[in-house]
Every structure is written in C-alpha cells, then in structure tokens.
C-alpha cells in the first residue's frame, strides 16, 4: 500500500495503514512505528521463552557498553521481562581503556542507567588486569579483537559474579550471530560452530544469553531511532583490524542482494547443531592450573594471554 504525501510516496503499514517506517526485505512486509516496535519486542520475548533464556526469579546482568546493541537490549528487556515474571536487572559495563571511543559510550551507559534507575556496576581493565587495552595492544594492533575478546569475556564474568547475577545477557544481534557462524566455518572451528547460540556457557560459567539473536542490526537502529535514543557514537578504532569487519561487509552485500541470507545461516547452524552438537558437547572440562578457571586445555586462554601482555 502506498500513500502520496507532498513530493514523495510513502508506503503504508500492512497492518494498520499508518506511514511505514520499516520494510522487512524477505517478506516485503511494511511496518508503522507501533507495529514495528511490537514486532521486535514480541520476537525478543519469543526468543526468551522458546529457548528458556530467562526464568522467573532470575537476576540478569545486562552487558551495557552504551553502544546501540546493548542500549536496545536494556530497553527491550525492561519492557518485555514483566511478561516473563519477577526478574531483576543489573547493568554491567566494562571499560577496556580505549581512548577516543569508550569514554563516549560509557557516558551514554551512565545516562541510560540513570533513566531506568537500575543498579550499575562498572569494572575496568586497569582494575582487573593492570593496564588499558590501548597499552596492551601497542605494537600488536592486528590482534586487537582476539586480545580484547579474551579479556572482556573474563571482565564480564567477574562483573556478573560481583553483581550476584544468575544470567549474563549480551546484545549480540542477528548480524553478529550470522557473522560468527560464517567466521567459524572459515576457521574450521566446528566445536564453536555448534555451540548453543542462545546460551553458550555449557554449564561452566554464569549462563550467557543473547535475547537479540533474531533481531537484525538495522532493526535495532530503527528501534532506537523510533525511541529517540539513537546516538551517533564513534566506531571502535580497532575494528579495522578484524576479520569480522570483512565478513560483515561481505554478508551485508549478500543480505542486500539475497534477503534472508543471515537467517538462513542461523538455520544452517541450528541444523548442524541438532545433528552433531551432542558429539562435541562432552569435550573434557579441565581447570586452568594457574587460575583454576574452567578451560579445555591445561592453561586457560586468559593466563596464556597474560604472559604476553606488557
């Protein structure tokens, strides 16, 4: 349905006839503001329920960087969780120490948490590891995402434990998940490929959940824009070094030309997971001989990395 207004033509919501703000490319369906917001929130609630991500009585630590994905996660969870039951939320923020980037997003996180009157716990890399990410990466920038990933994972676990949380929610979206599937295929990493997308703790840590895993990055941006919460924040300066950046561009092009590509990747992963996930789940769990954390080898990734940090 279309409507001519002024100089242009505005397609209309397929449900109510109001001006459309979003078109779902796979189906061609148009959504007005209200129906778009209801659709996104309904999908997140369905993901939580169908995958048993959150149960009544849970205390959910929301990893809040202050960027768009984690902001949307906090807003959506605040709205949909009353439909799940009594659930507590605590925002946790990791300050890695990335000059010219993290200051803005941490400020944005502080503002959001104050608006929702939520408990907020911040931990920094200097507090936990004795230095900033910038200092650790001097001369080894191409390794930025793997170094940061290992440190950040530990920092999130520590923060969630300090908060007393029973679940750790991250803002990974459909694009992130589809990229991860593709990257794991490119790396030949089958165990990681078949790991449960919704909750990847395997019982070893506080379960990590990804309630936005079926919401695209574009939908998240539109959702925030419609709530007047879009902030034009800077991009992580280390993103240029990441394989993920190349995969992101490639998948965006494929999704644009062949709508549904990202969702199909997720479906492929789910089928592989269903067929052979059980064969790999029993991988032996050891304790790191240096820090005691669960790991797959003798020394965990974090302790191995720490030996190389200056």
């Amino acid at each position: 349905m279309v409507h001519t207004a002024g100089h242009g033509i505005t397609p209309r919501c397929d449900t109510c006839g109001e001006p459309a703000v979003y078109r779902e490319r796979t189906t061609g369906r148009h959504f007005c503001k209200n129906h778009f917001i209801a659709d996104v929130e309904g999908r997140v609630l369905e993901t939580i329920r169908s995958r048993n991500l959150i149960a009544p009585g849970d205390h959910v630590a929301v990893a809040l960087s202050g960027g768009k994905d984690s902001t949307a996660l906090l807003v959506i969870l605040s709205k949909v969780l009353p439909g799940v039951g009594p659930v507590r939320l605590t925002a946790i923020t990791i300050d890695e120490g990335i000059a010219g980037y993290r200051e803005d997003t941490v400020r944005s996180a502080d503002t959001l948490v104050a608006r929702y009157a939520l408990p907020h716990l911040t931990v920094s890399f200097p507090d936990l590891f004795g230095g900033t990410l910038d200092a650790f990466l001097a001369g080894r920038e191409p390794e930025a995402c793997s170094v940061c990933g290992i440190l950040r994972r530990k920092a999130l676990t520590v923060a969630a434990e300090r908060a007393g949380a029973t679940k750790l929610a991250t803002g990974h979206n459909l694009d992130d998940e589809a990229q991860s599937v593709f990257m794991n295929v490119l790396r030949g990493d089958l165990p990681r490929l078949v790991r449960d997308s919704g909750s990847d703790s395997q019982g070893r840590f506080i379960p990590r959940i990804k309630p936005l895993m079926f919401v695209s990055e574009k939908e998240i941006a539109v959702y925030l824009m419609l709530h007047g919460m879009w902030a034009d924040l800077p991009e992580c300066p280390y993103a240029v070094h990441a394989l993920r950046g190349e995969v992101r561009r490639m998948l965006a092009t494929l999704e644009s030309r062949h709508p549904g590509t990202m969702l199909n990747l997720m479906k492929s992963k789910a089928k592989i997971e269903a067929q052979c996930g059980g064969l790999l789940e029993d991988e032996a769990v050891h304790r790191c001989r240096e820090c005691g954390d669960p790991c797959s080898g003798e020394i965990c990734q974090l302790c191995t990395l720490k030996k190389t940090l200056r």
Partner: protein
C-alpha cells in the same frame, strides 16, 4: 487583460545529509530511496534513511526539495 504565460515551476534539488555530516544536493527525483542509495554508493543494509525528519522505507519515493538524511548503522558494540 494581459495574461503572463505560465512558467514551469522550477524543480528544486534534494538536500542530502551524508553519514560523515557532509551535505550535497541530488537531482529533483522522483526516485526510490533504494535507487538513491545505490547512486550514492550505500548498501541499504548498512544505513537507515529519514525524509524531512521521518524514517522512510527503501521503497519510498523521494524527490524535489525533500531533506534526506542517511545514517550509517554499523558501529560495533
């Protein structure tokens, strides 16, 4: 009574605000948002677009003196 000959109303250019905050004018259209993005070299998956302050879909038609803002969404984090 003397009548002035009817003069065509001049088409105005669309004003476009790019993600890097640069401004540029585009032809008067009409053109779909998707075609405009393609002409400017943007992937519709990686941006959202507003017309005169309102979000529009890729199949919306824009033109004349519309003010178009293109916002890049891929930031990470």
């Amino acid at each position: 009574m003397f009548m002035h000959p009817a003069r065509p109303v001049p088409h105005k250019a669309m004003k476009i605000l790019l993600p890097d905050k640069c401004r540029r004018d585009a032809g008067p259209g009409p053109v779909t948002v998707e075609a405009l993005l393609s002409e400017l070299g943007f992937d519709p998956i990686e941006v959202i677009v507003s017309r005169n302050g309102m979000l529009v879909t890729e199949d919306a038609v824009v033109g004349n003196d519309d003010e178009i803002r293109i916002i890049r969404i891929a930031h990470g984090g």
